[in-house]
């Protein structure tokens, strides 16, 4: 508080409340001229600017680069508390940017896919989703985290079902059932941890768990609660054996929902898991209970199997969705390394994936609407020449996922590789990264070749309207972000490492 200005100090609270209030007010404003969506976009941009200022204030503040914000008149173990540091500020900035660009880029496809009566509730859900992501990022209290995980779950399932049709309803139901199992496991685990530690505030739980581990008391319930919370959050973030719901949910919903779900919703749950590992249990306890090995193995399996499944897809959106499973595997591989460098690389990959995957979904949506709303990969032949921005987006996204230098994915893959040299599983980690990159190339390169192949008779059938300026703008913004992350990632990685150190 001494170095940070009063304005920056209030930003975490203000950004969560701005998003919540805009969600609450949206049903009351008239559902004309797409006012609700414009309101959401403006509020998300304001929150993004605030997060950027918070990041600026935190990096220029000298020694104390984190602060706690008591929600109310009562200090932390009694009341609720938010906590902000460089990592939280970076993540909320990235979440806001990715959310804004996903909404803007799919502004016209949202209009086609969603019935007018549903659009303002869609905006309510998007705002609630953003608010819950911000709250998950900033919270310092495990029960607050649970409450916002619930909001996140319900809103995420409903934005799958927002597009009418049997397929989306089925996908949403499947997602809901899987997600609620995850919520239940997280809830049981929080109850167990409260019974063992008597606290819900993260640092107090950490202290109590350290005492339990040194005295070797209650080790069995502690292990079970760690396993339950890990599995619960892994289901929600689609780690491989629990990822069966993802391709349906992300492949069948409207483009904006797919982009938001793949880019952001998964990341919120992964970040809260990282927070629980670092701030509640502590990395040494995670290592003593062997959870890092489990996470590492599951991550490696997800990287390979996700890509193998993506190879078999004929629908371009389902292919990108399975590729998300592989990318989540990369993030969990970084977490499973159980070092500061590994977790920093995982966080960098969270940021990279949060910007690249919405770009891929937006590009795929643009290309398939250019081909007359056909989703099959072969129907997209020659669409690059109809919608060039979308084509560029798909190519840049593919290069990024393969890890071509100068693209965003290269930076995070490189940092994952460098981080894995400190770990005993270095050979496994490097082999998995190499194999997965080759597999990524095996399905992304054919997709790029297909869209760039000239086909005269196919192009006659393309009657889609030209892409809007908003679409081109958001694609350009995505591309700039992609190259920025690929070329100038070192300052960002240093900032993230600082953030993980003080986590």
């Amino acid at each position: 508080m001494n170095e940070i200005s009063m304005f920056a100090f209030n930003i975490p609270f203000v950004s969560i409340f701005l998003m919540m209030i805009s969600a609450i007010i949206t049903p009351l404003i008239p559902n004309r001229n797409r006012l609700p969506e414009k309101l959401s976009c403006w509020v998300i941009s304001i929150v993004g600017v605030l997060s950027a200022y918070l990041l600026y204030a935190l990096t220029n503040s000298g020694q104390s680069i984190t602060f706690n914000f008591a929600m109310g008149h009562f200090p932390a173990p009694w009341g609720n508390e938010l906590r902000a540091g460089p990592l939280e500020a970076v993540l909320s900035l990235v979440f806001c940017i990715a959310m804004l660009l996903s909404l803007l880029g799919n502004f016209s496809s949202t209009q086609e896919d969603i019935a007018p009566a549903r659009r303002n509730i869609f905006c309510v859900l998007v705002n609630l989703l953003t608010a819950s992501l911000l709250a998950l990022t900033y919270t310092n209290d495990l029960f607050t985290a649970y409450v916002f995980i619930e909001i996140n779950t319900i809103a995420a399932c409903s934005i799958v079902a927002v597009k009418e049709g049997a397929e989306t309803v089925r996908a949403a139901l499947r997602y809901l059932v899987m997600s609620l199992v995850g919520s239940g496991l997280v809830m049981i685990s929080i109850c167990l941890l409260y019974g063992l530690t008597g606290h819900l505030l993260m640092q107090n739980m950490h202290g109590a768990i350290q005492v339990l581990v040194t005295t070797q008391n209650y080790m069995m319930p502690l292990t079970v609660s760690l396993a339950l919370i890990t599995v619960g959050l892994a289901i929600k973030s689609a780690l491989y054996p629990f990822a069966a719901w993802l391709p349906d949910a992300h492949g069948s919903s409207t483009n904006a929902s797919s982009a938001i779900l793949s880019g952001l919703v998964l990341k919120g749950h992964i970040f809260i898991l990282i927070k629980i590992f670092c701030r509640v249990f502590g990395l040494d306890v995670i290592h003593a209970l062997r959870m890092d090995t489990v996470i590492f193995i599951l991550g490696v399996v997800a990287m390979i199997i996700g890509s193998v499944h993506a190879l078999r897809q004929k629908n371009v959106k389902r292919m990108i969705a399975w590729s998300s499973v592989a990318q989540v595997g990369y993030i969990f591989l970084g977490v499973g390394l159980n070092t500061i460098a590994g977790i920093a690389a995982a966080c960098l990959h969270i940021i990279v994936h949060a910007t690249v995957k919405p770009m891929l979904f937006t590009a795929a949506g643009g290309l398939s609407s250019a081909a007359g709303h056909k989703k099959g990969l072969h129907a997209l032949m020659g669409t690059f020449y109809v919608n060039r921005w979308a084509g560029l987006g798909l190519i840049a996204g593919a290069c990024s996922m393969m890890g071509v230098p100068a693209f965003a994915g290269f930076a995070s893959k490189l940092s994952l590789m460098l981080a894995s040299f400190d770990s005993p599983f270095v050979a496994w980690s490097l082999a998995a990264l190499a194999a997965s990159s080759v597999l990524n190339a095996l399905y992304y390169v054919p997709a790029v070749i297909v869209i760039m192949t000239h086909s005269k008779d196919a192009q006659k059938n393309f009657t889609a309207p030209p892409p809007t300026k908003l679409y081109n703008f958001s694609m350009l913004a995505f591309l700039i972000l992609n190259f920025y992350l690929g070329l100038f990632c070192m300052p960002l990685l240093r900032l993230i490492t600082r953030g993980v150190n003080v986590l």
């Binding site: 009063m6 100090f9 209030n10 609270f13 409340f17 919540m20 209030i21 969600a23 609450i24 007010i25 049903p27 009351l28 914000f69 008591a70 929600m71 109310g72 008149h73 009562f74 173990p77 009694w78 009341g79 609720n80 019935a115 007018p116 009566a117 549903r118 509730i121 869609f122 309510v124 859900l125 609630l128 209290d141 029960f143 607050t144 409450v147 916002f148 619930e150 909001i151 319900i154 809103a155 399932c157 409903s158 079902a161 927002v162 009418e164 309803v169 049981i188 167990l192 409260y194 019974g195 063992l196 530690t197 008597g198 606290h199 109590a208 209650y218 069995m220 319930p221 079970v224 609660s225």
Partner: protein, 317 residues
């Protein structure tokens, strides 16, 4: 006599089995035409003699028995998984600190302050109300928003479907069987609805003084609405509690919660003076924001529960 008894028995049996008279305008989805199985190829005209290859025979076998084997394996494995998880959780619970013991980790300084100073610090006689609406009001705000999110989602999925195709009824819509001459139900409803409403209001308004509060009081209020809908028909309730009323009341209540508690959070975190008075402990107008917040939560809960009932049984509010 015997005939009548049998008749009543048949009706009762049908009622138990849920085979009531089918509503006239229920939409029954048409049967899909039988499709060719994936494995069956169109017949080859030119080959004179064709013996099933091993792969074809495997596919035929799979088609005959595959689903059966898969489903039995699936149910067996799921039962096994459940048993393992149940045993694991029971073993864990057996290891936990004993329930209600004095030396438990949960009996620490956090609980002590809630119990000893809660009265003075929040002004609420009901410590639980003080805990959820003052000490940890942010969590309760989240919980109310969960209800709001769920209600919005259900409203969107069930109700907003028909607006773009006004002539076609959604298959989710069921015709509600409603008898206008049910004198017993209407008589009891007319007697009990005012009592239930009063009871709900008392529980909501006395939330800071006695057990109860917004969540329980709101649930009681919603039962009055549901009873009224069943006795007098959804149209009568619709006259004063429509979809629009629900959205406006929930949004406004949540907005009041967000703004008033936002002010309280802001002043608390920045160590500013808050203008909200605590009042005398035990008065009806006391405990700062707890009373208005209880009313807001009560409105949201009542609206949401009735909304779920109406949407799931009627398809509209």
């Amino acid at each position: 006599m015997n005939e009548e008894l049998r008749n009543i028995w048949t009706q009762f049996f049908n009622w138990v089995m849920g085979n009531g008279p089918r509503p006239e305008n229920e939409v029954i989805p048409p049967e899909p035409p039988p499709a060719l199985p994936f494995t069956q190829k169109p017949e080859d005209k030119y080959s004179r003699f064709h013996e099933a290859t091993l792969k074809e025979r495997y596919n035929q076998w799979l088609e005959l028995h595959g689903l059966h084997i898969f489903s039995s394996l699936y149910s067996g494995l799921s039962v096994l998984t459940c048993i393992v998880i149940v045993c694991l959780l029971l073993a864990t619970v057996a290891e936990l600190p004993p329930f209600g013991h004095e030396r438990n980790p949960a009996n620490n300084e956090v609980i002590r302050r809630y119990v000893q100073y809660g009265w003075h610090e929040t002004g609420a006689q009901n410590i639980v109300a003080g805990l959820i609406l003052d000490y940890r009001a942010f969590d309760t705000f989240g919980e109310s928003s969960v209800l709001f999110t769920a209600a919005c989602s259900v409203l969107m999925i069930l109700s907003a479907t028909r607006s773009n195709k006004p002539d076609k009824k959604s298959p989710l819509m069921r015709h509600h069987v409603f008898r206008k001459d049910d004198a017993i139900l209407q008589g009891i409803a007319s007697l009990s609805i005012p009592v239930i409403l009063m009871m709900g209001c008392v529980v909501v308004i006395n939330g800071h003084l006695s057990p109860g509060g917004g969540f329980s009081g709101g649930a009681i209020l919603s039962t009055a609405l549901i009873l009224a809908a069943n006795a007098y028909g959804f149209e009568r309730v619709h006259e004063f509690f429509s979809e629009r009323t629900f959205i406006v009341s929930s949004s406004t209540a949540l907005m009041i919660y967000a703004l008033s508690k936002g002010y309280s959070f802001f002043t608390g975190a920045n160590h500013l003076h808050s203008i909200i008075p605590k009042g005398t402990v035990g008065d009806i107008l006391s405990a700062g924001l707890i009373l208005p917040l209880d009313i807001c939560v009560g409105l949201i809960v009542a609206g949401t529960l009735y909304g779920f009932y109406a949407l799931f049984s009627e398809g509209e509010m």
